[in-house]
């Protein structure tokens, strides 16, 4: 057989020219039955052959095949499949076949966007999951990642609760420690770099670090999000594929001309919060444990957290215009979002515009596609110190001493402000201004040209850009307590940071797709191309202290005593070549091989290039004649893949380059009578190279009852080598004590399960219940962290105790395992009183409790993640919900550990409030490293509950729907802190409050 295969593959090249003489073609348009709009992306296939195509933006398609009589099938997600028998193709002639598809809201897998092309879902060899519009989470979703939370097995999405705040995604666990763990995002073919050195630049002020880099993208503009999980799928994005790839495709319009509007209003309120002592409890604690401070206790009963929180409103409006001409389709989306945060002072506002236009030129040979989007985001931040101050401020102290005068801790005798005491958070809220403006545009132009002479050969040229201009401005006036406590010469500050980033992408690739003559139902699909990306970032900023006036606020610099200007220019270049071959034999055996060679300027001389190959095999068992009609299945596919990926998102652009840092004006050395500015040679590893992840995936796809129920099971293992660590250098051999070096490895292994099904199918307007269930298990283990003998690296800085860390990197344990003292226990209860030696287990038995007695204890990463989605429709009604659960994730409650002991009360400088955990444990001195603060944060949460009603016919509207959503309906957890998910690093210290959001809205089409 294989000889036949090889001959067939060869023949496709050699015989394609003579084959032309006997071929004809079928072409036409695929349109929707309702409204007649072109249907984009419909699969058009020819039964009994392996010939197929996808309808273009105007619904047109064209197939070339040998003369004969065929049955043509068209299908598309959201439409019922249509079969047209008896289509006659004559030699050298074109048969016109227009196909009309009826709308059918099912989630049948159709065409999937993969890197540099599309693929039919049935032909996929890797582990790929697509979530489309109708499956997205609804409600107030500020950035795109929220759309797929809980929807895809093996994908963990966590945000920080703040509207517009940072979001982290882990695809099948983290592969790195010091480089980025975030996946690569590709928006309409433009890679968006969010990890590594290019965001914020080297040594910049960190603007945007806590912001979500995808905020520029209005979720309403998105058509689908595809997550590439295994290496064979991501290898085509070799250089940044190690953490998975998230491909975002925006809506391209096509139907219409149509105008539609969607608007929502929302209200959010805080649920839960850190558990602190109330005024009565606090008073009792001071009386018992700090009698000397009773005099200064105060008589008020203040809810400080309540004072900085609010019920927050929001609104969102989206207007879409879409339509098509003779050869073109277009969509213009306009969006406006304004969302207040539940912490006073935080707010995000976004205006966005998105234009997609595509046209077919040169007699259908050239497809031109353009995507241009721009947005302006305004962000207001709650001053950073406010949350911590509200936690620490004594609940017995009043907010104000007189109207407009804020209470502050003062020395009882001198009346002077106490330097180390917390400041009144309300004063900071009232006077400190912190805001950012981000202008961003991402776009591309793409031409796909069907070349003459060789049938099936297309060439694509794409140019893309991502331009980002971000400004952040912070003003602190001279006359508030935080400033009055400091040196009089440096009170008041203004800081501005102006960041400009430009990222350009150029791709050129060719695709050859054709049937293999002589072999039935066999095709070959080859892609090869080159890609280049350039990044340039200019990070300007200054700050000035010691302001002479507060009158100018954010908008000007009066006279000042100190200024700290900074400029940083950063460049980063990527050059890549890639190729992919897909071979489909007899519609049964699917073979994919890819290779990508990437060069990055971030690495050392001779280390810049990495080659990342992958291979995959899939076997559609039901196509085997012996199985076809003997199993009660509609689909059965076995998949096996192997591949290698790189990670170049290392923390800096110049870590492999020798350079000298010039010292600042406050770090000079006095030589005699003059102060001399210093220069410092930088420690670096000239051999810095790629972190490389090798992964294997085995999976099955199953469909039963004509795919009414579909499911997949995957097992994967990913091992990352040459992991970057800041490893200790042998004394005297390097220009710092630690240097970033490729050393160490980590492994993630896991299982994923997804089931989709139509539980109840009551027909078009009957009762229908669709269910999606997904579960994933991941086991993360650090294998080595460097040279033999390196036993652990401590990490995870906490609040309380400068330089105190709570986590460890230790071989044999998950990355960032907590590193704690274990309490002895008596009758199952932990011992929490007495000396350290009485409370804690002396692990090495040397009679003292010191850092040698710390042990690894759980980790922040969940071992199991479950997701469930239900969609119910009946007549005009629809309802949906998303429920998510984690197991095995632990969180260090830093609020409890930092403020959870009675010694806080006796501090002469600041009698501050205590965490209620002190009532339970009764610690009289700080026990930052106690294992009691590492809490099981497993949870079940209903993320989303939506109910809507679609009107059948309402006035002149083509459609009208009203809906209501509750987000964060409930969370069930044993975790005692604010939120079991708020920090992906597992350290809960002053996280933004969690809120429940109620959204109501309507959408209408004209």
């Amino acid at each position: 057989m294989w000889r036949t295969v090889i001959r067939g593959v060869l023949a496709t090249f050699l015989a394609s020219a003579p084959a032309l003489a006997q071929t004809g073609s079928i072409s036409g348009r695929v349109v929707a039955a309702e409204g007649g709009a072109p249907v984009v992306g419909a699969q058009v296939t020819v039964v009994g052959t392996n010939i197929g195509t996808v309808s273009r933006d105007d619904g047109r398609y064209s197939l070339t095949l040998q003369a004969g009589r065929y049955t043509v099938v068209a299908s598309r997600i959201g439409f019922a499949r249509d079969t047209v028998p008896g289509v006659v193709v004559n030699p050298a002639a074109t048969t016109t076949l227009n196909i009309t598809l009826r709308s059918a809201p099912t989630a049948l897998a159709g065409v999937v966007v993969v890197g540099y092309g599309t693929q039919q879902a049935k032909d996929l060899t890797g582990s790929v999951a697509t979530v489309t519009t109708e499956e997205f989470n609804t409600g107030r979703v500020v950035s795109p990642e929220g759309l797929i939370r809980g929807k895809v097995a093996g994908v963990e999405v966590s945000d920080n609760n703040e509207p517009g705040g940072g979001v982290s995604i882990r695809v099948r666990g983290g592969t790195s420690v010091n480089a980025s763990n975030e996946p690569l995002y590709v928006v309409d073919g433009v890679p968006i770099d969010i990890g590594g050195g290019s965001v914020g630049g080297d040594g910049s002020t960190g603007l945007g670090r806590n912001r979500n880099p995808l905020n520029f993208l209005n979720p309403n503009d998105i058509e689908s999000i595809t997550v590439l999980k295994d290496a064979s799928s991501t290898a085509i994005y070799g250089n940044r594929g190690a953490n998975g790839v998230v491909i975002i495709t925006t809506r391209s319009g096509g139907s219409g001309p149509q105008v539609s509007y969607t608007g929502t209003v929302s209200g959010s309120r805080v649920v839960g919060g850190p558990n602190m002592l109330n005024a009565a409890q606090y008073r009792a604690a001071v009386q018992q444990f700090a009698p000397s401070n009773v005099a200064s206790l105060g008589t008020a009963s203040t809810d400080w957290l309540g004072a900085i929180e609010r019920n927050a409103g929001g609104q969102e409006h989206n207007l879409d215009f879409s339509g098509h001409g003779e050869t073109n389709v277009y969509r213009l989306g306009l969006g406006y979002l304004d969302q207040n945060g539940v912490l006073i002072g935080s707010r995000t506002q976004r205006a966005s515009a998105s234009l997609n236009y595509s046209d077919r030129l040169l007699g259908d040979r050239l497809a031109l596609r353009t995507h241009i989007r721009g947005s302006r985001s305004l962000d207001w931040y709650t001053p950073g110190s406010v949350l911590g101050e509200a936690l620490a401020f004594a609940p017995t102290q009043p907010m104000y001493t007189a109207p407009g005068t804020y209470y502050q801790y003062r020395d009882p005798t001198s009346g002077a402000l106490i330097g180390l005491a917390p400041n009144n958070p309300l004063e900071d809220l009232a006077y400190v201004q912190d805001q950012a403006t981000i202008l961003r545009s991402v776009g591309n132009v793409e031409g796909e040209y069907r070349l003459p002479f060789i049938s099936g050969l297309t060439a694509t040229v794409r140019g893309g850009y991502d331009v980002n201009r971000a400004d952040r401005n912070v003003f602190t006036p001279t006359n508030i307590a935080s400033q009055l406590k400091g040196d009089s010469a440096t009170r008041g500050s203004i800081a501005r940071a102006n960041h400009d980033e430009l990222h350009t992408v150029g791709d050129v690739y060719a695709n050859y797709r054709n049937v293999l003559p002589r072999l039935t139902n066999s095709t070959l699909d080859l892609t090869a191309g080159v890609s280049g990306e350039n990044f340039n970032g200019t990070y300007n900023g200054y700050s000035a202290n010691g302001l002479s006036s507060n009158l100018l606020g954010l908008n000007g610099v009066p006279s000042f005593t100190e200024a700290h200007p900074g400029v940083s220019v950063v460049d980063h270049v990527l050059r890549s070549q890639f190729g992919r071959a897909n071979l489909n034999l007899f519609d049964r055996y699917l073979i994919t091989a890819t290779v990508r060679r990437d060069g990055s300027s971030r690495f050392g001389e001779g280390q810049k290039y990495g080659t990342f190959p992958s291979a995959a095999f899939a076997w559609r068992l039901l196509e085997e004649p012996m199985l076809r009609d003997r199993l009660p299945l509609s689909d059965l596919k076995f998949r096996l893949s192997w591949g290698r990926n790189g990670n170049e998102a290392i923390p800096c652009n110049y870590c492999a380059y020798g350079a000298y840092d010039v010292g600042g004006p406050n770090a000079q050395a006095q030589l005699g009578n003059v102060f001399v500015t210093t220069i410092r040679p930088v420690a670096f590893d000239a051999n810095l190279h790629w972190e490389t992840t090798t992964s294997t995936n085995v999976g099955f796809d199953i469909g039963i009852l004509r795919d009414r129920f579909t499911g997949s099971v995957d097992y994967y293992t990913k091992t990352t080598h040459d992991l970057l660590f800041n490893v200790p250098t042998a004394a005297g051999t390097a220009l710092s004590n630690n240097v970033l070096t490729n050393i160490g490895s980590v492994r993630n292994r896991g299982v994923e399960l997804m089931v989709d099904g139509k539980l109840i199918d009551g027909g078009a307007r009957g009762f229908t219940w669709n269910v999606n269930l997904n579960a994933s298990h991941n086991n993360n283990e650090l294998l080595t962290i460097g040279r033999p003998g390196v036993t652990s690296i401590q990490t995870g800085l906490i609040a309380g105790g400068v330089g105190t860390t709570i986590q460890v990197l230790q071989p044999g344990q998950p990355v960032n395992s907590f590193y704690v003292y274990q309490h002895k226990s008596v009758n199952g209860a932990p011992v929490t009183t007495g000396a350290d030696t009485a409370m804690y287990i002396d692990q090495n038995g040397d009679g003292i409790i010191n850092t040698s007695d710390l042990v690894p204890f759980h980790s922040p990463a969940p071992t199991w993640i479950f997701g469930h989605t239900s969609n119910v429709t009946w007549r005009g009604w629809d309802a949906s919900t998303t429920i998510r659960a984690y197991r095995g994730n632990y969180v260090y409650n830093n609020v409890a550990s930092n403020l959870g002991n009675y010694s806080v009360l006796t501090s002469p400088f600041a009698p501050v409030n205590l965490s209620a955990s002190v009532l339970q444990y009764g610690f009289t001195r700080p026990q930052y490293l106690s294992d009691l603060y590492v809490e099981d944060a497993s949870f079940v949460r209903m993320d989303n509950l939506t109910v809507g009603y679609t009107f059948d016919r309402l006035a002149q509207l083509s459609n009208a729907r009203i809906f209501g959503t509750i987000q964060n309906v409930f969370t069930s957890t044993k975790y005692s802190g604010v939120d079991p998910t708020a920090n992906i690093n597992g350290i809960d210290n002053n996280v933004y409050p969690r809120s429940r959001t109620f959204v109501g809205g309507l959408s209408v089409g004209f």
């Binding site: 330097g419 400091g486 380059y657 000079q668 050395a669 030589l671 410092r680 710092s736 002469p908």
Partner: protein, 525 residues
Amino acid sequence: MYIKSTRWLALGATALCLAGLACTKDLTVQPQSQITSGNIFNDPASYQAFLAKLYAGLAVTGQTGPAGTPDINGIDEGFSQYVRGYWQMQELPTDEAIIGWGDTGLPELNTQTWSASNPFTTAMYARIFYQVALANEFLRQTTDAQLSSRGTSADVATQVAGFRAEARFLRALSYYHAVDFFGNVPIVDESFDISKLPVQAKRADVFAFVESELKAIRGSLPPTSTGNYYGRASQAAVDMTLAHLYLNAKVWAGTDRNADALASASSVIASAVTLDPNFPHIFDADNNTSPEMIFSVPFDGVHTRTYGGTTYLIHASVGDNMDPAAAGIDGGWYGLRLRPEAVDRYTGYPTTTDTRTSFIQTSGRTKAIGSIGSSNNGYALLKYKNVTSGGAVGSNLTFPDTDYPLYRLADAYLIYAEAVLRGGGGSRATALGYVNALRNRASAGAITDAQLTLPFILDERGRELLWEGMRRQDLIRFGTFSSAGVWSWKGNVAAGTTTAAFHDLYPIPSNELSANPTLTQNPGY
């Protein structure tokens, strides 16, 4: 058709090349906002700027000041400051000082319960070898061959020759600290091939290296660190380092070198340095003008900012019932206190005429330390101040102008006296005269020749040099640091207890052992 295809391909390849995508080009993108190694020394001023970094390594923690772009990492930047680390390791485990904070690893210094992974001893080791590596790099970049290859002028070359002696002094100074703290460390000089693992040296060999280096450069340095050489290496600074080295030679190298100690101390005493009649001036914001200063680490409220150094010493000393303004700062950190044993050394305190006790703060405090964490347990000591001898506040309330006196003349006097008593020759009468010069300055009353004994010297060093970063070295020389000698909280017991003798040396950090597996840990750890 094939010809056509080939043509198309060639055309396509050319187009791609022009677009800059396909041709494998050199992907080197030089840093633009940093100066590269390639062009730094095109500017002759870079030599002085690099030398300044060697000195700055004793004072600041990174290139930003007070914090930011740190030189070493793995520890809070302020915690890693050289003088702060040095001071804490010389004072906290002794009968002079205790600190109340609970930062990981810090309580272990109070009680001599540290392990090889203690972050503070690890950071000090890193700081010492950062200085060594930096000095070596300076020496490699300034060889005659390098200078002539850059076409350096004769004037600059002469200047650089002097800089090289200073770099070697700073390297020897840090190795002197390494001998004291860690003992058996690798000797790495500029000729060492840094691609190899350094070889551990015996403590005596490290001692010999420091001695030979100091002797070799002494002649290239100015007599004293004054005027244009303030804060810089001098013959007096070399002699003080040698004096300490020789005085401790029995412990560090196994042989007594008291005659050499006496000679070095005499040489310092013979220099232009004189006793400061105004004792508090030595610790004030304008102490750079004190005639008693031999070698100091300069700090400045504007130019040289750090969270270590005197910023730490002054802020951490200020706490309960103390007015920060009296110390010239904006607020106390409630950390450092005196151990009761240090107070009791001033016989009869508080009824004593010894003016050196004027720094002790007792208001609202107990002398005894019932709880280390309670900031009013233990008297405070306001010795270092950000106020000038004229009463003016320093240039910044957070970052003092006060320089840290690493060596001052009183130390040389007491070394001379001790060397005499240890059989190093010299004159007993001169020794008595030196001791009484110090006691008379402090109105503490002169002693008689009969009172001039070694135990008296140890106590007098405790009174004169209290909190000046000497105590651990002194106690070990007198054999009462670990297995003998008891004071509050030693061994993590309130009343104090002895500890195992191996605590006389700090452990080689576990980080270093993993990076250089050829090293052997100090005994006991």
